[in-house]
């Protein structure tokens, strides 16, 4: 069910400073329910900062961030936890936790009892395990998983939080080709089932973003260079402007877009 105002995420004139460093500049954008947004841009351009501004971990210096119709910075931590979830990028050292225990932590914001999870929590977590095909790993120590299995576990954790918006920072950075595709397919599949959940993914893998995202936000030095469909945003000119890379963009026989970086403009004579 789309929200009354229409948009799931709505950012207006958002500015954020780290002391005197202007990290986010006048950010205006909206994301619709059911949309998958790809956040791309060079290292240090503000992608992760923007994700943290969406879920209220960072307070904007000016401007507003509405999520699901509510000003995220006026919600308390527990309300935010029920609105936004994010997939962790760091991973706990070995504390002998197993997969189901980690996934179950996603139910923490919805806790009812003092100590134990309820049967509802249990069935939601079991359901997530089967959605991400990690049921057979339920009792496995998370530090003994492959990278792909680990990423699915962490996404399952974010999923059982039952968020309106799911934020994913670099979901595929340590994965090989196949796992990259699989993780993105799981996310896409999830969105088909949860029709009005919005997903924002920040990544350096432009090909993957173009393939899976409905819209792309291109960020450079803290401001948004462009928002639009992958075709509109990922152009040779934009990539040259933002990344300083000379690239060629072409389509394979099935019509999929491929971005091929040729050389850094810095070294182009």
């Amino acid at each position: 069910m789309p929200h009354e105002n229409g948009s799931m995420i709505s950012s207006k004139e958002l500015n954020l400073y780290y002391e005197d460093y202007h990290a986010l500049r006048d950010m205006f954008f909206e994301a619709e329910p059911g949309e998958m947004i790809g956040l791309i841009g060079p290292n240090g351009c503000g992608k992760s900062t923007l994700l943290r501004a969406i879920n209220g971990l960072l307070k904007p210096s000016s401007g507003v961030m509405y999520v699901d119709g509510k000003d995220i910075n006026k919600l308390n931590l527990s309300e935010i936890a029920k609105t936004c979830s994010n997939v962790p990028t760091e991973f706990p050292p070995d504390f002998n936790l197993n997969v189901i225990e980690v996934v179950m932590m996603g139910r923490y914001p919805h806790r009812k009892g003092l100590w134990w999870e309820t049967d509802d929590d249990e069935s939601i977590a079991r359901d997530a395990l089967s959605k991400f095909e990690i049921t057979h790993l339920a009792d496995r120590n998370i530090n003994r998983l492959s990278s792909g299995e680990r990423q699915r576990t962490l996404i399952a954790k974010a999923y059982v939080q039952e968020p309106r918006v799911m934020l994913i920072d670099e979901p595929t950075s340590h994965l090989d080709m196949r796992f990259k595709l699989e993780v993105m397919e799981y996310i896409r599949d999830l969105m088909r089932k949860e029709e009005d959940m919005t997903v924002v993914v920040a990544s350096h893998d432009i090909n993957l973003m173009v393939k899976y995202c409905d819209r792309i936000i291109l960020v450079k030095e803290g401001h948004i260079v462009g928002i639009g469909t992958p075709d509109e945003i990922v152009t040779e000119k934009n990539i040259a402007d933002v990344y300083g890379v000379d690239c060629s963009i072409f389509r394979d026989s099935s019509g999929e877009v491929i971005v091929h970086p040729r050389c850094s403009l810095k070294f182009k004579s």
């Binding site: 527990s78 935010i80 936890a81 962790p88 760091e90 504390f95 002998n96 179950m104 932590m105 914001p109």
Partner: protein, 349 residues
């Protein structure tokens, strides 16, 4: 293989019940054994008879007096302090997100050692009975002072868990150096200082047992109430915050609580190392990383390990009593070295 349909909560409850049953049985056994063994030996049936008599008539015979006034508070003391240090260790490991830290990480032990040293070297004017309490009070204040300094340094440098580790190391070194200086300058009391630094349960009696029992029990129970939060905190400060925990407030609360708990544990018996490091570790291997099982498991295991170490300290070299801290360390070092070599790489956080 567990049945897949078994709900986690009910499986957890069943395992917890099992843990409590086995734990109570083991603790009760070691309780009786500790009452029976000592420089004066008794059989278990004599002990049993003596306990019944003590309950019915109060301690009458020499044996009953030994059991009631010497051995009973002592074994209960080992239970309490083994439990308290293990709980504190588990809390520090979770908050600092490093399974290789111990309850002394925030400098409490060094501060307590220094406090005790000051008390020992300056208590010329006190009577013997007074000095029985002056040393623990010195240790307690020293421990808290040390944590207070660590706290100030850590909060001044960003307030993250790692700042507490670094602050604790610096403060610990400072107090350690001061203790060394005081020991050099008061060589007639070095033995007494070492006695504290190595740890011993000889000073535990009913009077001082009560003083530490109430706070240690209460603080351990409070920690139990936060088992789920301690689980979530393992995912990292940002994740925990994102799941709805006010991480800064929670961390400070837990660090203060665990440091206070540690200070109560060391006040009367001195600095007993390794138990707070090894026990949460071993418990994690047995019952897993969920704090709802890990904390009770650590409590039982900590009480058991401490009472066994004290029994060895008492009996290994009769009539001389060996320092329990040294015994514990001797048990701990090989275990710790094994852990480091086998799993050290995984701990790089």
């Amino acid at each position: 293989m567990k049945e897949k349909n078994d709900s986690l909560a009910s499986a957890g409850k069943a395992r917890l019940l099992m843990l409590i049953l086995i734990g109570s049985f083991a603790l009760f056994s070691i309780f009786l054994i500790s009452l029976a063994f000592g420089p004066v030996k008794m059989s278990l049936s004599e002990v049993w008879g003596a306990i019944v008599n003590i309950i019915v008539n109060g301690p009458q015979t020499g044996y009953e007096r030994i059991i009631y006034y010497l051995r009973m508070p002592r074994v209960l003391g080992t239970f309490l302090i083994g439990m308290g240090l293990s709980v504190a260790g588990a809390v520090f490991q979770a908050i600092i997100r490093n399974p290789l830290v111990d309850p002394y990480i925030t400098g409490v032990s060094s501060g307590a050692g220094f406090g005790a040293t000051i008390a020992i070297t300056t208590t010329v004017a006190f009577t013997a009975t007074q000095s029985l309490y002056i040393i623990p009070i010195g240790a307690f204040i020293g421990g808290l002072l040390s944590f207070g300094l660590t706290f100030m340094i850590a909060e001044g440098s960003g307030g993250r868990a790692i700042n507490y580790v670094l602050g604790g190391v610096i403060v610990g070194m400072g107090f350690g150096a001061l203790t060394t200086l005081f020991m050099m300058l008061s060589d007639d009391r070095v033995h007494q200082i070492l006695f504290f630094l190595f740890g011993s349960f000889t000073g535990i009696n009913w009077n001082n047992l009560w003083i530490i029992a109430v706070p240690i029990l209460i603080m351990s129970l409070v920690v139990l109430l936060y088992a789920r939060e301690l689980n979530v905190i393992l995912l990292g400060e940002e994740q925990a915050k994102q799941l709805g925990i006010n991480v800064r407030r929670f961390n400070i609360f837990m660090l203060v609580l665990a440091s206070l708990l540690t200070a109560f544990c060391v006040a009367f018996v001195g600095i007993i190392g390794f138990v707070g490091l090894i026990v949460p570790h071993a418990a994690r291997m047995v019952v897993g990383g969920d704090h709802r099982l890990l904390l009770p498991g650590s409590m039982v295991l900590g009480a058991l390990l401490m009472s066994v170490a004290d029994l060895i300290a008492k009996l290994a070299y009769v009539p001389v009593e060996l320092p329990v801290g040294a015994i514990m360390t001797l048990i701990g070092v090989p275990f710790f070295a094994y852990l480091l070599m086998r799993r050290g790489k995984e701990y790089a956080a």
